[in-house]
Symmetry: D2
Subunit: 365 residues, 4 copies
Amino acid sequence: MDCYSPDPDAVVELANAYRNEPNYESYVALSSAIEAPRQKLFKRMNMATQGTEVIVSLRKDFLRLVKNHPELKPIDFDLLHLLKSWFNRGFLTIAEIDWNTPAVILEKLIEYEAVHFMSGWNDLKKRLGPNRRCYAFFHASLPNEPLIFVEVALVNGLAGSIEPLIDPDPQSEKGDADVDTAIFYSISNCQAGLAGISFGNFLIKQVVMELKKEFPELTQFSTLSPIPSFRRWLSQELDNKESTFLTQSNRSTLSLLSETDWSTSQEHCELLQPVLTKLCAHYIVNAKKANKPYDPVTRFHLGNGARVERLNWMGDKSTKGLSQSAGLLVNYFYAIDEVEKNHEAFVNQGTIAYSKDISKFLLAN
Amino acid sequence: MDCYSPDPDAVVELANAYRNEPNYESYVALSSAIEAPRQKLFKRMNMATQGTEVIVSLRKDFLRLVKNHPELKPIDFDLLHLLKSWFNRGFLTIAEIDWNTPAVILEKLIEYEAVHFMSGWNDLKKRLGPNRRCYAFFHASLPNEPLIFVEVALVNGLAGSIEPLIDPDPQSEKGDADVDTAIFYSISNCQAGLAGISFGNFLIKQVVMELKKEFPELTQFSTLSPIPSFRRWLSQELDNKESTFLTQSNRSTLSLLSETDWSTSQEHCELLQPVLTKLCAHYIVNAKKANKPYDPVTRFHLGNGARVERLNWMGDKSTKGLSQSAGLLVNYFYAIDEVEKNHEAFVNQGTIAYSKDISKFLLAN
Amino acid sequence: MDCYSPDPDAVVELANAYRNEPNYESYVALSSAIEAPRQKLFKRMNMATQGTEVIVSLRKDFLRLVKNHPELKPIDFDLLHLLKSWFNRGFLTIAEIDWNTPAVILEKLIEYEAVHFMSGWNDLKKRLGPNRRCYAFFHASLPNEPLIFVEVALVNGLAGSIEPLIDPDPQSEKGDADVDTAIFYSISNCQAGLAGISFGNFLIKQVVMELKKEFPELTQFSTLSPIPSFRRWLSQELDNKESTFLTQSNRSTLSLLSETDWSTSQEHCELLQPVLTKLCAHYIVNAKKANKPYDPVTRFHLGNGARVERLNWMGDKSTKGLSQSAGLLVNYFYAIDEVEKNHEAFVNQGTIAYSKDISKFLLAN
Amino acid sequence: MDCYSPDPDAVVELANAYRNEPNYESYVALSSAIEAPRQKLFKRMNMATQGTEVIVSLRKDFLRLVKNHPELKPIDFDLLHLLKSWFNRGFLTIAEIDWNTPAVILEKLIEYEAVHFMSGWNDLKKRLGPNRRCYAFFHASLPNEPLIFVEVALVNGLAGSIEPLIDPDPQSEKGDADVDTAIFYSISNCQAGLAGISFGNFLIKQVVMELKKEFPELTQFSTLSPIPSFRRWLSQELDNKESTFLTQSNRSTLSLLSETDWSTSQEHCELLQPVLTKLCAHYIVNAKKANKPYDPVTRFHLGNGARVERLNWMGDKSTKGLSQSAGLLVNYFYAIDEVEKNHEAFVNQGTIAYSKDISKFLLAN
């Protein structure tokens, strides 16, 4: 450990003193000794004009450096510790983003969108049109920088395809008539320098509340989500001779995926659909990594208390959608009265909540 | 130490592990162990709506409790540690307070004013009139609560009396004509729950910058300050037979202070003025408590890098002014190009910077 | 007519030209000739910074001048014509006034309150407390000047006494629980320079809409109003030997009004109550001036489509209330579904809408 | 005249009454009679929510209709009269437009830009970058609609070419260093429904003041303007055998203009430049239409008090620039201390103010 870290000998001595006489003075002495001097430096930096911005940007660069220099990880530990304290949920404000928002913020949405690519202002305007909503968290020290944002479509019934949400027919989206479902179809973290701080769960909960207040007629809250690691996992399984997920018949059907344009061949699709859909259900529910769902998006929404609701074949035919999720999209459903229970069961027992629709795939041969 | 404090045995063990192998894992383990669980609780509380407000208010109550329960001091140590992090200068915004400010904030100024009492809205309006300025620090999580505010009068030459600043002749304060001096005549901390966090030095520096920008013609920045502990100290010296500050002749003159209305008797004042003024200069420069200036206001401004500039006889004839400061007011002068140097000399060598005017009193017999 | 008025000969000539050939050119020529040159001057004045403010202030002074100089009335006609155009309802915005409003506006409410005197900020704060609302119209060119404001109390059932509305028991006004009635208890025009332009009816209608939106549970909208010309009219009737309103018995009872403190004598009040209440009902419904209700407040609310609902004995015991309205207050009730009909009947046939409660007094002997 | 116009007989009668007795009553009667009932209708329409917007939009449509129905012109006269009163300079506010402005307003700039076409958001962002400014007038009743806007480049010395202003090299535009000249390079009216109301002169004057305040170092204010009717006029002169502007030699040189791509042929340009530049100077100064400068842009800036300063060969090589202005751009210079004098001389004697630079072309053979 370098000289900016707490002095090991001093720490041991003060720890002993604290054990011998655990009082105010010994506690303060020990606490102060264990706080690395670099923390004082970061706090001092933050005092300057735009200090917070500089620190967040510095950590972004620093994280790249740490990858090749693991000995610097303790520094990032302290930096992350400070940033977690500063970006506590209590210091975030939610803002609705719409066409009245300053361009300096809107252009960041185009830049930061991480799920469904926006090519420019025209794409953005569609996502802020009638029956569309967008919300972001902001911190007072980064006034023009969203920390995270979520895009929502208000529709009638569960949506299964991304296209009509991000490129709607202008005729069909006139008023707020007859919507009963809010679809969270894209959620993007914006600040690489704040990696490791979780904003998404707070944002979703807050947005559900905002929407309930504005549209009391909404009864369903659900995502329409990619399954971004599905095909990577599938490749691993295909490479794994002893995979318990794949049958020989599966393997032969899946070989069609190596054909270019399989997704536009009706014939191929008819063969692939039942196999991929069933495997995807298994993947979402049963594939694990360190005892947690293999897919990061599954991990996120299940951790928030959602349940796996429905798989949508060819929900996303974009290049990215095909290459990552085999064109499938999944709905994670936020049932307000079971979110708490699902969350607890997931965290404590690793239980995955899913619908009957999904269970059919799991039970099928 | 109670159960919410770090476990002494675990801490010693982890400290030893860290000494044996000072790496990322041992550092994280130790750092995490030393952080009292109550800190997590406070951070969780802060996430709720108006959480910050609740915590600041809680600490206000808690500080009263701690007075009689010193065993609770470690809890306050953690709370203060968190609040210092959250109320870092980088998260504060300065706001000019004037007659366009919402009443909900203005009424707090009347309530929090700690130096020169305001009886109500009329007094307040005078302090926000022509050639008067008021600035406050705010935190985004306490939108209607000033953390600290300072009142400034723009005048020509150093001001020596408080009356014309807080109750100006409406005729004489018309425009901004001919002002060259900014007098900081009152600075008040507002949040008892944030005691121990220093805002004043940052505020004064920021206000000097704001004023320089708005009024390039300003050349002098000075306070007009009470000497609130002067008479308490004087009593102690009078009681102290071996005081090195007082001569026998001083003692007999000072006995006049026990007469009611000494301050309105021209005869008494003529005798008292030279004695009190000289003693006050000695008090400010030489009286110490724990190696620092005895007077808290002296400590504050000297620590910021100001110098003691001028003593003003009968600058404050209010009951409070007479009973605390013997009616004297002092100017602490912020000379922009010597603030840094003064601050360093004060902090490192305990040097008190003062003007020739003051040195005359110190050298006089 | 002075030289700033249209030239009579030119006007006659152009009027004849227009009659002979009523086309675009003759119409423009005539229209231009009839527009007094002073109108151009006023429009030019309005272009300057704060021009609108200056013109409104100028008219305030001018109206005083006109009283003694009727020959200047044509100038005021033009000025009022312009101001009516500029202060068209479409250019007014409604704002809710509360304790977050800037002091510079709030102090004007204290100054302009014309119905129930406010002695200062404490009185004002009570009127902006729980279950109280205040709304004003503003014009973009007079940003800190309310044009008119109305004060509202949200209560349960019709209010009959002003005291609990303007000086409520802090204990009893905690939440918004159980309110079903909005009482408009004070409405004040603010700008003497805009006399002759009617804002009140638009404001009341707008406030009813705002309140319905915020509190769907409100079912009754009513005023609690003074009858400011009642006692002046009563004096005239007493002086009028042939009054058809007064009986001999009435006259003898009413002589008690000349006693000081009649209102605090239980004995006098018992005699006066039935007589005054009945006469007041007759006054409101039947006393006329130029074929319209004698009382200006009656004229205003009936013209807006309200009905006379209830008389409240000793509703206002203030000096002003006793000397103008004999302590009586009246509720004008705005029944949303009959406002239009009442307004039409009032304007076209002079019909006064009133409740059964009132009709009892009218029929009684 | 239709039935919505003033009754000719009544008007003549009231005009006679006014001549016989020119007093308040006769004046009011005549004034009221001459005001067409449709004016009341428009005023009533304006009272509704978004009424002003509707009326401005209605006039836009109406103006198209009037073109083919001259009998409707009196209606437009009244409408314009009202709109002039409502959109009086005193009711307009200036706003700086930058990248912090809401997208809903920014997209209108792209749409309304009438001088130098913007293809989208990227073009717009360049015009709002470093050393660029944009200002617009707004009216409180049309919050998201600029009425007129002007684009300004801060440069060093007079600019002669449009390209570097609207598509600057990102490297060369870093700070505000060394700028001494504000170039107004584009000014566009936005509301077809407000045609006939002059905003431009007020906007330019206000922007000069704003810029002087923000950048005291600016010493020159000038336009860089197209000469949009130059080539149309030139065609007319070429067709006119007796033109006094053209020599036979000119005519033969100008025949080169009929070649496609004349502007990219160095040879052609060398022949054309002296002829076109000289003719353009004559055109600007001497070509007239109804006793005023032939070119509408010349009329506008000369009317505002500017002088013709400099002609810039190949200042605008865009298709539009070549086809309208033969690629020339002109600087109209606003010398603050001669604007008033120039304006008076132009309005009263028709005097065209121009520089020595221009006079050289006029005197040359």
